[in-house]
Every structure is written in C-alpha cells, then in structure tokens.
Symmetry: C2
Subunit: 511 residues, 2 copies
C-alpha cells in the first residue's frame, strides 16, 4: 500500500497560476530576437498592398482614434514574434477592435485594399500561426473580452473571443461549472484562439474536443461578412454545420468574434496519482485498467518517460515524489463524491500493483501537492528548450506502437541529441516527441525530417495532433491529408476568402 504517502516535494513554484507567466518570462529571457521569417524560411510575399499612412488614418477612424491602432515599433514588436521565438514578422500596425462591427469594418476595408491580415489571440501558438509572416496587419482580439452570459442550468457560456481561458475558468467556477478544456497556456491564451486552433489539452480525455463543446460561433469573413452561427443549444440540426469550418482552421477562413461553449458541472473532488512503471506495455495496460476501474471519474491520463521527467526536475529544480522508473503516469480523477472517488482510486491502484502493472506511486488530493505533480508534467516542454534547441513533434499514433517512434528516433540520432523524450496524452493517443540538442544543426534536422512525418504517415497517424499547422507545418500537411482533401480545402479557402488576405501563408501549402 502506498496511498496518501507523504510527498517531500521541494518544488520552488507553488503560487497559483504562476506557471504560464513563468514559462513566458523564461521563454523570452532565454532567447534573442529571432531572425525575420522571410529571411529564415523560403516563403514568397503574396501580391498584397502595403500599409500606407492613409490606411492607418482609416483604421483610426474605424477604431475611434489612435489609442487602439499601434504603429510604434516598440509597441508592435511583441505582436510580431511568436511564443517560441521561431518566427518573426514586421507588421507596422496592430489593430485592437472591441466589437464585431469594428472587426467587420476593418476586414471590409482590408479586403477592398487587398491588405493581408493576421488575426491574433493570446499568441501562445506553437506553429507560427498567430504572427505575421511579412507585413500583414495584426488584428488583435485582446480587447474583445466581454462575458455575455453564464447559465448555470444549461451550462452555457457566451463570450467574446478575446477572453483569456484562465479568466473564464474562474468565472464559470463561480457558477459551479468548469471549462471543457485546460491548457498550460491558460494564463494568456484566448478562448477564440483555442477554438480557432481546435486546442486539445489536458481534459480532452474527459470532456471531448471543441467540435463537441462549442455550440455556436460568430465569425467575420475575409470580406467583412458577419456569419452569425451562434447557438446556445446542444442540439441544432438546421442546415450545414458551418461553425466547424471556423473551428481548427486557424483564422484562415474567418475571425471568430464570439462563441458559446458548453461547460460541464465542476467536480467537487479531484485526486492526482503519480505512478512508476517498468515498460510502455505496462503504461498501455494501466490506461485500459484506469478506463475500466475509474470509468467516469478519469479526467486525465498522461504518460511521461524517464528522460522527460529528468528534464523537468533538473531544469526547474523539482523533485519527483517517487523513485526512478523507466515510465511514469499521471492520472487525475474528478468526481462528485470524495469518498467514492478515493475508493475507486484505491481499488484501481491496489489491483494495478498486485498484478505488477504499477511498481510504485503516490496519490494526493491536496491542491499544492497536486499542482506540484502537474508541474512535473507541464514543465517538460519548456525544460527541454533549456538544452539549447528542441525539435518538437506533436503526433497521434496507434496505442499499439505508440512509443516505438521514440526508440527509433533515439537510435537514429544517437549522440547528436542531448535528449530524445516521449510524453503526452496517452488517454488521447497523442505523443509529444521532443529531441533536444545544444543547437540546431542541419545534420540532426535531416535525420529527423521527413523521417518522423513519414513514420507517422505510415501508421496513418496525425502529424499535428493538437498544435495545428500554422506557418511552420504547411509542408507536412500532405503526410496526413490526401490530395483530394487538400484540393477541397483550397476550394473552401478560395470560396470564403477570394483575395486570400486572411492569415496568408498558414495552414495550406502555398500554390
């Protein structure tokens, strides 16, 4: 029996919500201003107009003055560089509308003038989708942060798209509800950005994806048409389900300005278990046992390999609550009855240890300890960047050979890598494969790509499970989507954005 064993965690981070901001600071402090995208990548500017002083004057008239039209380099720089510092545009103007009408007016004008536009939420994306590639006008949704309604009966939240996910979480919590998604970046990411990228995250195993949770959207098209696809209902079968065109199309088909989303009932009881295991097979079978034994209270099921945990503990001075093992699992339960949940968890863990699946573990329901365990998992991505450079792959793979690719890559790159690690949402078949090294070299790059994408494609996996395609992955799209699908995507884009001004160079390969 190892339950409720005390945990001598020495983690230095314990304040609530400190995580995203800390990561953010770390990310920016560690890195220089990156090279311009146009210099680093082989990409050609489209035939768009350039922003003139007259355009700026027009924008000021639309936005009622100059306070929401940023044109000074020191003001616009943050909007030109992405979170990972991997891409940089040189937009000279950032617009901050407050209403759907203002967004529509901006788009109408830009479409007429053939000015390219890059919509931007919290700018926490990992594939360069949220910053300009060249000089696109940045349309920031930052000031569109009104909450219109939270209905405790139906569980429906209606809000503007610029609301910060963490803020929404707090507000719906007050009504006994919970947001159906949770992300490491919740302190700064916007719900509109989450929906535009079909963000996955840590609760997907429990509450499903955003195509299921988002009940309605309002979006402004490239031509400035307001598509009112709002619905405050879980059931609405009236015609084509157009809202899904905006979920996951990363701002290339329209700019989401408002949305309604279903929020499940908040759980009264939360537990986190951290387990040590011998092999990937034990991880897979423990996942199945958790699905069966924990059933409806299972809310997260994460896998972490030894190298991943070594990285987060080392770089962030965290301490694992258990000894070293080849694999770890973080299992979270959320339910409505603490005694019931603890009994289910105890039964599950006892039987998993008895049959040898799990070698050691700890479980807690104390908020600080739970947060500390979550940090072990959530800080892996940022910790690996500290090795110098990190190749990141976010892929879906069949559970049968989920971890094989980590071994194959480790074998391939040998001592060229500092670490080859695999971790992620095993509950959703989503692996984060990370290869860290002292610095980027063409040698290791060539060993990794297209190998990783071809491998994934061969098992019919997804080359971008949750991060999206953005700017950085357009050339890999073909590994997960067939030519007919790509053709239909191009046709959709042509239909909905005839001048191609909306978030150009993103998602679809340049033709």
């Amino acid at each position: 029996m190892f339950l409720l064993r005390s945990m001598p965690l020495k983690a230095s981070l314990s304040q609530k919500n400190v995580l995203p901001n800390l990561c953010r600071r770390l990310a920016s402090s560690h890195r220089e201003i990156p090279a311009l995208t146009k210099e680093r990548y082989p990409v050609k500017r489209g035939q768009y107009s350039e922003v003139t002083d007259r355009d700026v004057t027009k924008f000021e008239s639309i936005l009622g003055g100059s306070s929401r039209v940023l044109t000074q380099a020191e003001d616009t720089q943050g909007y030109n560089i992405d979170y990972l510092g991997s891409v940089r545009g040189y937009s000279r103007v950032v617009l901050k509308p407050k209403s759907t009408e203002e967004v529509a007016d901006i788009m109408k004008y830009c479409n007429e003038r053939k000015l390219a536009v890059c919509p931007q939420g919290g700018n926490t994306g990992l594939v360069g989708g949220s910053v300009p590639v060249f000089d696109e006008v940045v349309l920031s949704l930052q000031l569109m942060d009104k909450i219109e309604q939270i209905d405790e009966y139906s569980g429906i939240l209606v809000c503007q798209s610029g609301c910060v996910l963490g803020t929404l979480e707090e507000k719906v919590n007050e009504k006994g509800l919970v947001m159906p998604l949770d992300l490491g970046a919740k302190g700064s990411c916007h719900i509109g950005g989450n929906v535009s990228t079909n963000a996955g995250g840590l609760r997907l195993v429990r509450y499903g994806n955003l195509h299921g949770s988002v009940l309605g959207v309002e979006a402004v098209t490239a031509e400035g048409r307001v598509m009112d696809l709002m619905s405050n209902f879980k059931k609405d079968n009236t015609g084509y389900h157009l809202k899904h065109l905006f979920i996951g199309s990363e701002g290339t088909l329209g700019i989401i300005t408002k949305l309604s989303i279903f929020c499940p009932t908040a759980s009264k009881s939360v537990n986190v278990a951290f387990l040590g295991l011998e092999s990937y097979d034990a991880v897979k079978n423990t996942f199945l046992a958790a699905k069966r034994g924990l059933g409806e209270i299972l809310s997260s099921c994460e896998m972490i390999d030894e190298a991943s945990l070594e990285s987060s503990t080392y770089h962030f001075n965290l301490q694992s609550p258990i000894e070293k093992y080849p694999f770890y699992m973080l299992i979270e339960t959320s339910g409505s009855n603490m005694a019931h949940d603890e009994e289910k968890l105890t039964n599950f863990l006892e039987s998993s240890m008895e049959n040898g699946l799990v070698l050691d573990g700890t479980v807690t329901n104390e908020p600080t300890k739970m947060r500390n365990i979550w940090k072990l998992r959530e800080l892996i991505a940022d910790s690996l960047i500290n090795d110098g450079y990190c190749f990141k792959y976010d892929i879906s793979l069949p559970l049968d050979n989920f971890y094989d690719i980590v071994l194959a890559v480790r074998d391939r790159v040998g001592p060229l890598a500092t670490k080859v690690t695999g971790y992620g949402h095993i509950g959703d078949s989503n692996l984060h494969l990370n290869v860290s090294c002292a610095k980027f070299t063409p040698e290791i790059y060539k060993l990794l790509e297209p190998f990783v994408y071809e491998y994934t494609s061969n098992v019919r996996g997804s080359v971008s499970a949750e991060h999206g395609i953005g700017f950085l992955k357009t050339k890999y799209l073909k590994y997960s989507k067939r030519p007919e699908s790509l053709m239909l995507m191009q046709q959709m884009k042509q239909l909905m954005d005839p001048n191609g001004i909306l978030n150009p160079y993103k998602v679809l390969p340049q033709v």
Copy 2:
C-alpha cells in the same frame, strides 16, 4: 423513502429489442400508402434525366449483376415511403452497393448522366430526408455493413456506414465499450444515417454529440470523388476539419461510406429513476440538482408532461409505476460502481424529496423494469400518432421558458387538438412538442404554423433540434439561420455538387 419500491408494471412488451420493430409494424399497419409527394407538396422536379433501361444495365454492370439492382415495384416501394408515411417518391430503381468503389462508380455515372440520387440508410428519418421526392435513384447503404475494427484500448470503432446501430451496440459491448449514441430506432437505423443527420438521442447529455464522437469519415461526393477523411484518433489538427461538412448535411454534400467513432467505456451499473413533480419549475431545478448531485454518472435526463404519459400508457397498455402528477422525469445513471451510484442516487432523491422538488418516485436497476420505464418515454411519439394525426415539433429552447410554448399552443388550438403535449431531453434543452388531433385540418395547421417556428425563432431557439431539415422543413430553415449563413450553405452545395444531383429538394430551400 421510496427507493426500490416494487413496480407492478403490466407492460405487455418486455422482450429485448422488441421496441423498434414493434413501432415499425405499428406505423405501417396503421397507415395507408401515402399520396405521392409531388401531389401533396408544392415542389418542382429539377432538370434531371430520367432513368432508362440502359441506365439500369449500366448499374447492373457496376454492381456485378441484377441481384443488387431492384426495379420491381413491389421491391422498390418500401424505399419510396418514409417511416412516418408522410412522403412518397416513385423511384424505379434501388441500388445496393457493397463497397466504396461501387458507390463512387455509381456517382460518377449518375453525375455524367445528370441522374438525381437519394442515399438511404435505415429509412427511419422523421423529416422526409431519406426517400426520393420524385424519381431519384435510391442508393441504399444496407449491404455496407462491415465492421473493420473495434479497439478496446483506444475505444475506436471503424465500420462501414450501413451497420445497424443496435448491432454495433452489441459488438462494442463485447469489448467493454458502449456506442456514444442511443436512439429509439436503433433496431433499424444505420450509423451512416445517424452521422449524416447528426442524430442526438438519449445519451447526448452524457457523451456529447456526433461532431465530438465521430473521429473520421470517408464520403463519396456527387462527382464520385472519394474523400478519405478517416482518422482513428481523437486529436488530428491537420488542415480544415472537413469531415464536419458531412455530419448533419443529410446526404446532400456526399454519401458517407465509412467512419470511425469513439466509444466510451461501458458502465457496469445502470439505474433508472422515475419521478413525479408538481411544476415545470420543479423539473428545471431537479435537473440542476441532478447535474450537481449525480455529476459524472448522470446519463439521461428526460421530462414528460401529464398528457404525454397518458398517451403512452393508454395506447400501449402500459402502467406508470407512480401516481399521476403534472410532470414526470426519467433520470438514468450509468457508472462503474453499483454501490457508489446507488448512494449518489439515494442522496439526490432524498434531498430532492425533502426540499419538495420531487413529490414521488421509484428507482430500479432491474433490466426489465428499467426497460418498462423507458417504454413509457420512448413510446410517447408513436402513441400520439394513434390519435389520428400528429403535428410534431422538435425544438431547442432556453430552459427558462422551456415549457411555456406548450401552454401557449394549448391555449391557441383549444378543442381542435386531441392532445397538446411536451416531453423530451431537458438535459439538452430539447423539447418535443406534439399536437395530436383526429385528422389533419388546415384550420389547426394555420394556428400552429408559422406560430411555433416564429416563437422558437424569437427566443433564438432551434426549429429542428435533432431531426434535421430533410424535405419537410426546408421552408422553416430561415427561422433558425440567417441569410448570410444560408448563402454560404448554397455556395457549399454548389461547390461540392455542381449538378445538384445529390439528395435534391432536401435541407436547402429550392432557389
């Protein structure tokens, strides 16, 4: 305390799965062959070719002989009449492909020949979407019923679209899984039809809608292109999420031939409670109490008004397990631990009775008794048809004034109606408003329409929550969708089906 009180149910129907077939027989035995759609409704045949003997020969060559090409009137009649007997086409040919390639070949040929095609699943739709309006070729998916894979680890089912929902339910049950949707028609409806119509049903409150559960589809377009949008993963953010174009577009944008769907873990413990309440307000507050008290085990939450229960008990000779009340609720729980679930249910019911929300009730976990309680709810729709004629409205409404429309309609039609009843999935804000009468009269029709649609539109509800638009509701689409949305739908149709041959006269209003 009223828990586990014995239930002297005298229901005559108790065999497993007898329900849909019984309803089916009942429906057909009660009704004459309906008038031809073209005679009953103001609809104009499109400029399509007519099927010739040469076409039939071509179809026979595609399908390898004549056995899967039905042309005799007695063979085709059933495919020309819908489940409710409200519409009838006069197609002279029914095709039964077995593979995606055959479907593609048929569509290529029909597109070249400008022959209109009506795809058909189990033909259990309620809005005339699954039968020809005129002489469209019927393409039945009946023989495309192969199950390719059921993975107990990931919970993914991959199958052809002609699989019967009830059969799939049995097969996934064997692997410890459950289908994410459940419908009264499961004995004959096809999963492909379910997905094409975005069917809702009884488990939506627990497992969400099909846009969330369906992970991939393969569909054949009007031009015979195979769109391979299959994915066996819950996370796949590679480009536009095109599969959603096929979910809920009722076979007008493509014919779904294969799909993968996520199946949750089966529950070991199921309980059903049947409650009596004084008012709609008590129903609404009991729903909130159930969400909070039963939390993660709540799997159905249905409301039934007095008139609805009177109808199903009377026409099907069923007996309610409790006395008469103005309102009833059927609450189902599904969980992984019988003792825990019973304790939660007991606590919830005790507190609901103590605070006066619930006046009486019974709860059971015996399969036969649970089925009998479900029959009280599931047979309402069919029972009302026995009054002679029944106007059926399937709408989403805000919970605050969810039941007001029933009172308003009752007031409006007065003695012209036999019964004005309201029941449905309160857990999903979905009301079934039914008005039964001795026979259809223009007088009552005019009192009901467009009143019901305008009322629904005014509270921004949905005029078709789960049944879809089909043929019968195209003119009401405008009550739930704005002109810009309708325009985009028309553009999508034009893009994906330039000759307009795929399920014409359905979903979109004729232009």
